[in-house]
């Protein structure tokens, strides 16, 4: 939501404005813990425990003895599952795909989002409110429903776009092997540009008017104000949207999964999550757990690394 934009720079430190209350008696501590307990309980059982369980499972393998008559046993596998995952070319290819989408689609989407936010923020723009509502519309559509909609829009037999291209003598199949990755990127751009735009836009709105006004009086044109005042001022919001987008791309699932059901060019292990789900579907739980752990660690490293990198850069300038 947009509200995340303002406190973006607060991620690192606790929210200001509330000095710790006085009188920290034992009674207070007890009631604080009582308030925390329900969430804490659910947090531990629904988030910490599954990760711990997956981590544990990833170091074991199921061994079936003889003809499979005896009950299968869980045997310690060490790093064998992880080594198998690294050698699994299908699994590695799935990372390659999301990485490619991430490198191309995320900057493109954020560039469009920034441009639209700047235009909406500009004094000379018309119909601001209407445009803002239109841009935000895809966010109100559930991701899977949007994916189902696009799957129809891509299907050659009914796609209005294919028909339009045919009108100009072009034969375009959005689900062909060459285009399908771009088609998925388009679904993501369509779905999330408005959301990112709104985060950047609310950060733009928070820039004090005097700042841009002073630059304007100094003779700066729109572009120079944008470049020297506005974009630096919304840096935290841009970083936030980038981190959200990196995470979103790594966990890409809905769009390719729906397309997989209608297009043979999207394999059942097209993205890392689909690959892990595929492993679970064929009852290879240990391997599914391993794949999930690898994906979680890589996502965390990527988003956290990006956050650290941009923070260090920001400190230098």
């Amino acid at each position: 939501m947009a509200i995340t934009a303002a406190p973006a720079d607060r991620l690192a430190r606790p929210p200001a404005g509330s000095p710790p209350p006085r009188g920290t008696g034992r009674r207070r501590t007890r009631s604080a813990l009582l308030f925390l307990a329900p969430f804490g309980l659910v947090f531990v059982t629904m988030m910490v425990a599954p990760i711990g369980y997956a981590l544990y499972q990833s170091f074991f393998r199921v061994e079936r003895s003889g003809l499979g008559l005896a009950a299968p046993t869980n045997a310690f596998a060490g790093a064998a599952n992880y080594l198998a995952a690294l050698r699994d070319s299908e699994f590695m290819a799935s990372f390659g795909r999301v990485l490619l989408i991430g490198v191309v689609q995320v900057p493109l989407m954020l560039g469009i989002a920034l441009l639209l936010a700047l235009l909406l923020d500009a004094r000379f723009a018309a119909f601001k409110r209407t445009f803002r509502m239109i841009y935000f519309l895809p966010y109100a559509l559930p991701g899977v429903i949007a994916a189902i909609m696009w799957s129809f829009l891509y299907q050659p037999s009914i796609s209005p776009f294919t028909a339009a291209f045919k009108h100009f003598g072009l034969d375009v199949d959005f689900l062909s092997g060459d285009l399908v990755l771009g088609s998925i990127g388009n679904m993501m751009t369509w779905g999330y540009t408005g959301f990112n735009m709104l985060i950047i836009y609310s950060a733009l709105q928070a820039i004090p008017g005097e700042l841009t006004e002073a630059a304007g009086l100094d003779g700066c044109g729109w572009w120079r104000i944008v470049w020297h005042v506005k974009i630096p001022a919304v840096r935290p919001a841009l970083i936030l949207t980038a981190v959200f987008s990196i995470i979103g791309t790594a966990q890409l699932y809905n769009d390719p999964e729906i397309l997989h059901q209608v297009a043979p060019t999207v394999s059942s292990s097209y993205t890392p999550i689909m690959a892990a789900q595929q492993s679970a579907a064929i009852n290879n739980y240990n391997y599914a757990a391993t794949q999930s752990i690898i994906l979680a660690v890589l996502t965390f490293v990527l988003s956290f690394g990006f956050l650290k990198l941009t923070q260090r850069k920001g400190a230098q300038t």
């Binding site: 509330s18 997956a54 709105q205 965390f300």
Partner: protein
């Protein structure tokens, strides 16, 4: 959300004027992206209203042979009305999950903002770290764990993971820190009210408008989470509408007609849009309450 209301604020006028050409250029760029955004939704709307016999023979982007009611009847008649069941399930998961999650988040955020105790920062940092890990990441490990304890294919398998929202705790803490005055809580304590009573009677009403955002955020997150229910639920009487519709989409070749899936998709968007519109009123009042301070 806040941005919508924020944006209505008028900005101070700048001195320099802008040439009509850049004005037109800006409008063109914005209009172009608006068209890009609207065309797919427009197609969905138009197609949902078409008689099933004319889906492919008429212009895809304009109305023709209006038969929306017939399509809706077909959607609800398909497979003994399972679509209605799906919608109800979605509502149960979203309303149930978001309500409980909002209360838990409010309590935890309030505790983290208004009490000081050992390990407070550590707890907050762990929760913040969890915000960075998307819910989808937990789905598969949860499935592995739930199948071990035979919880899969029940309402609980989707509801229980839905009631935890680290982001909601983060927001609640920010709101509680910013809007609940310590003096008010102190006054309550001097009057001899219990901590629980102070929370429910003093802190909650102040935080309530802001908690609508927490609720809505979680509502949307649950409605959108597809991987979790698709893993957990086999039985189609338990499935939310997203999983059911994806299933129909897949079974196109088995004779689930186009018009049913498309109209179903159109119908499933409705509750979310209504929720957005209804709750918008609260965001406004939430902002107004915040500005009084």
């Amino acid at each position: 959300m806040t941005a919508i209301a924020e944006a209505t604020r008028t900005r101070p006028r700048r001195v320099r004027s802008v040439s009509p050409m850049s004005r037109t250029g800006a409008f063109a760029v914005m209009a172009l992206f608006a068209v890009y955004t609207l065309v797919p939704v427009w197609w969905l709307l138009v197609t949902a209203t078409k008689n099933k016999g004319y889906l492919f023979t008429t212009s895809p982007l304009w109305f023709s042979h209006f038969d929306l009611w017939g399509n809706i009847r077909d959607v609800f008649a398909q497979e003994d009305g399972v679509f209605g069941r799906w919608m109800l399930n979605s509502l149960i998961y979203c309303v149930g999950g978001a309500t409980v999650s909002t209360v838990l988040s409010a309590m935890a955020g309030y505790a983290l903002a208004k009490f000081s105790f050992r390990g407070r920062e550590l707890a907050f940092n762990i929760i913040l770290g969890a915000v960075l890990v998307p819910a989808v990441m937990f789905a598969l490990p949860l499935y592995l764990m739930f199948s071990e304890i035979h919880l899969v294919n029940t309402y609980w398998s989707v509801l229980l993971p839905s009631i935890v929202s680290p982001f909601g705790v983060y927001l609640s803490r920010v709101y509680a820190a910013a809007s609940v005055p310590d003096e008010l809580l102190e006054a309550g304590r001097i009057d001899g009210a219990s901590e629980g009573r102070i929370f429910w009677r003093v802190a909650m009403p102040i935080m309530a408008p802001a908690l609508v955002t927490v609720f809505l955020y979680q509502f949307v997150a649950i409605w959108n989470n597809y991987l979790l229910p698709v893993l957990m639920l086999n039985s189609d009487t338990l499935q939310p509408v997203t999983v059911g519709l994806a299933n129909w989409r897949q079974r196109l070749t088995e004779g689930i007609p186009y018009n049913i899936t498309i109209t179903g998709a159109f119908l499933s968007v409705f509750p979310l849009v209504v929720a957005f519109l209804l709750l918008q009123r609260f965001w406004r009042s939430g902002l107004a309450a915040g500005s009084v301070k």
